[in-house]
Amino acid sequence: MNYQWFGFIGMALVLSGCGGSDSKPKNTASSSSMAMSSMMAASPAPSSSAMASSSMAAMTTLSYSVKVTNLTAAQPLSPLAYTLHKAAFKPFTIGMPASLGVEMIAESGATTDYIAEASANAAVIMANTASGMTMPGEYKEFTLNAMVPMGEEDQLYFSVLSMLVNTNDALTGLNSIALKQLAIGQSWTFNALSYDAGTEKNTELQASIPGPAAGGEGFNAQRDDLANQVTMHPGVITRDDGKTDSVLTQIHRWDNPVARITITRLAP
């Protein structure tokens, strides 16, 4: 993990409002974006199983604000799928096949399957989507409030996933960041890298890329990449660099990092 931690103490932007549409009343989220006015995701209900099983335990509230900045030239980021979870859940592992939910995000940007997958896992405290695209040069912020059994605060991890939409199956985000050493008022900033889900060959053909550069297909269940495994992304070639059948141009190229992600722990 490529990370830089800065002490942005006291600089958190605390966004007002809780997500009224979140069907899990004690875990709420809200988000906003530079580009869009109202951001509460009407996403599927996070699992309540973890909460229900520990309903006898005393609970404590943990609050975070997350800011994701798109560092690319021309790769909009799809809606951010984020989870607060324990170690037994991991969004993906380098060298292993992507789950269907991760494939869905990486090929189409759709988060429904991933949120359902995560919500079904007992190790996931909350799973949600910050809706709307994060355009190049822009950022999105959201807050999350989670009720966690007392004594389990040290077991929490944060993950967030998003597609680089002008690609076949590129994604970025954070994969299981341990939060236990993040104190109230502190921030950590990470430089997020680009991954290849390994679920779709990087043809760069118009028909295979769903982003605005192409308008082609998103998800396809077929897995035809070099190997069915998540790796770092090799970047795109584009027609300006000799891939004559590519729908992409030089503007769609990128280098790592592709996003900057800041997590701030708020006072509950």
């Binding site: 993990m1 490529n2 990370y3 830089q4 931690w5 800065f6 002490g7 380098i94 060298g95 502190q186 430089n191 890298l193 680009s194 290849d196 390994g198 990087n202 043809t203 760069e204 070099l226 190997a227 495994q229 998540v230 790796t231 770092m232 992304h233 090799p234 970047g235 070639i237 660099d241 000799g242 891939k243 004559t244 280098d255 790592n256």
Partner: protein, 232 residues
Amino acid sequence: MKKNLFAGLIALTFIPSTFAADYSVKIENLTHGTYFTPLLVSAHPAGTTLFTSGMPASANLQAMAEGGNISGLDADLKALGAVNIANPASGLLMPGKYTMADLGNPGAANTQLSITAMLLPTNDGFVALNNLTLPTMPGTYTYLLNAYDAGTEANDEIRGSGASGMAGMPVPPPLEALVGTGGTGVTTTAEGFVHIHRGVLGDHNATGGASDIDASSQRWLNPVARVTLTVK
């Protein structure tokens, strides 16, 4: 609090301990389609280095970077009292795969960690963790590794030799079916000094064009490897 782990650097803010420590290393090939030749993992004394960026490569680094031959670097470091693990993956480390190297307690004098292997298909590209001061506080430490160019051979990107000073890329059996033929060559000039690799060019003509490398499947972006160091 500021902590920066980029490019394998970690700020060591704690006081080196005199306690013995055991070290194990996990090395992951993060790339989409680039192979690592046999790795050399070494806990070695301070005062030596695999290479210095901006300076010409040593003959033994050249042999590793052009042909995957780690025997010279292995011998150099052992002569200094290093504890080395050569070829932990028992051959090539495939894209997306990992290998483990258990260094045990390398002794008080071996305070540095270096890891390297050639990248295939390239002319003289290699991955390296160079001369990291081993942490002594128990824990798990993660480092991201970049791809370097040894600067000893022109990046012609066509089939050739893995011997030092001989042009072209070695193409061992697993790469045979993945690397093209008939390329005319991308360049004939070696750079002359070690530097961060600019990446390969490649093309989409498997039987011609300038390069025998496939652009869509054999390029990479840094980082190319992740090292997870466990100190006990």
